[in-house]
Symmetry: C2
Subunit: 222 residues, 2 copies
DNA sequence: AAATATTTTTAGCCTTGACTAAAAATAAAA
DNA sequence: TTTTATTTTTAGTCAAGGCTAAAAATATTT
């Protein structure tokens, strides 16, 4: 009766499939998965057979792969654990938001009864992680916010920073230097038509943000 | 220059060697190591070759093995991490002392800059884990207490519970039911010569503790 | 010291999760 | 529709970490 526990490698593939399917609905292709995992197509094919044997995915040769109900639940649970641990690392241990990904990548694979729920209790049931990404609840239900990319704001509009679409340490560090942490308020003062860069007010300061930043920063318009 | 990180399996062997060498000074024999790891002597031999290649142990065929300086530092660091995570699980997440071993066994292998020191700060630099075992400091220095087995107390002597020598969940649960948590005060009222069992007062209660319990419970005499 | 028993190592095999190179299937272009 | 390009799978290899069975070394008895 007891299902065998997936290995960490299997879990990472499930997360990758989930992540790709989130952006690009429909079956996930082997090459896309291999790219996401930073591995070869041959390795991905091998793993897809294993995941298929364990009923975690529906896999058809040459046709791509989709998560099964069980696989989807597992992926969601991993994302939940990853994000809860990130909250722990930032809120309790005092790490910066650009330092926690690698730790959480390991911590999400810790197995055992009740750990996640106790951690969630301890953290006060946070609904978003330090990057503003939603944390699914214990039943796998997702929160969803209405947020827009900074790029879409016109001069005069104001917003609150709610998240990022690029999680790289360099981007996160840059934002921190600019005072653009989660919850920061900003106002678009001007936008340059030529390159879509924007002059913005961040609290007291003024700064110019490139299109790339505008593309990767989520805000809630106020 | 950068030394390759040991795998979790290698780390577990180092811990096991450390643990055996602690009780039984001198080189650790292959069979003892295999028994401690719950594996075959052949597997232990394989691993000893790997550890020896990585200079983590000094291994001589048929003669047994001892930890190198590097191996010893690593084992100590693992014990430090294990015990700090146990403190976290009990003090912060509210687990009972018999529930945390398996979690800590996984958490001790989490790798990354500064995690242990931040965790130690967050926990307030505890010097003992939830079972009363000492937590080495960041430099690998050990605390040592003066503690005796309950078995050595004579009627009339009183003590404070400082630790256990048996970490099995069943023993720990039994102690908890008896009110014998860390720091509990007790007094030996009588001792039966025949089987070394003792009638003790634990706070308000009275109970009879077997020789086995007396053997596995550490106290500080007051 | 020789015979026997025990411990340890070697040899050969298995699985997981990688890899490369070659083959096969599918898709796109002529 | 046939050729060419792309994607995917298969085949064969490797390292880590386990296993069993057999061989070798060490220890213990007689």
């Amino acid at each position: 009766m007891s299902a065998i526990l997936p290995t960490s490698a299997e879990e990472n593939y499930l997360k990758a499939i989930f992540k790709i399917a989130e952006k690009e609905p429909g079956p996930v292709l082997t090459n896309a998965l291999a790219a996401e995992m930073g591995t070869s197509a041959a390795s991905a094919t091998d793993m897809l057979k294993r995941l298929s044997d364990k009923q975690l995915v529906a896999y058809e040769k040459y046709r791509g792969v989709t998560l099964s109900e069980a696989g989807s639940r597992l992926a969601t649970s991993l994302i939940r654990k990853h994000r809860l641990w990130e909250v722990f690392l930032v809120d309790k241990l005092g790490f910066a938001w650009d330092e926690v990904h690698e730790f959480a990548e390991q911590l999400e694979h810790i197995q055992g009864e009740n750990l996640t729920e106790r951690l969630d209790d301890f953290l006060g049931h946070p609904r978003f992680d330090p990057h503003g990404d939603p944390i699914p609840d214990a039943k796998g239900r997702w929160q969803h916010r209405t947020q827009t990319r900074l790029l879409t704001l016109s001069p005069g509009q104001r917003g609150i920073v709610t998240g990022v679409d690029d999680h790289s340490p360099t981007f996160l560090q840059y934002l921190a230097e600019m005072g653009l942490s989660l919850g920061a308020e900003l106002e678009v003062l001007e936008r340059t038509a030529y390159d879509q860069s924007a002059k913005v007010r961040i609290g007291e300061r003024e700064a110019v943000l490139s299109e790339k930043v505008g593309q990767n920063l989520f805000v809630r318009i106020i």
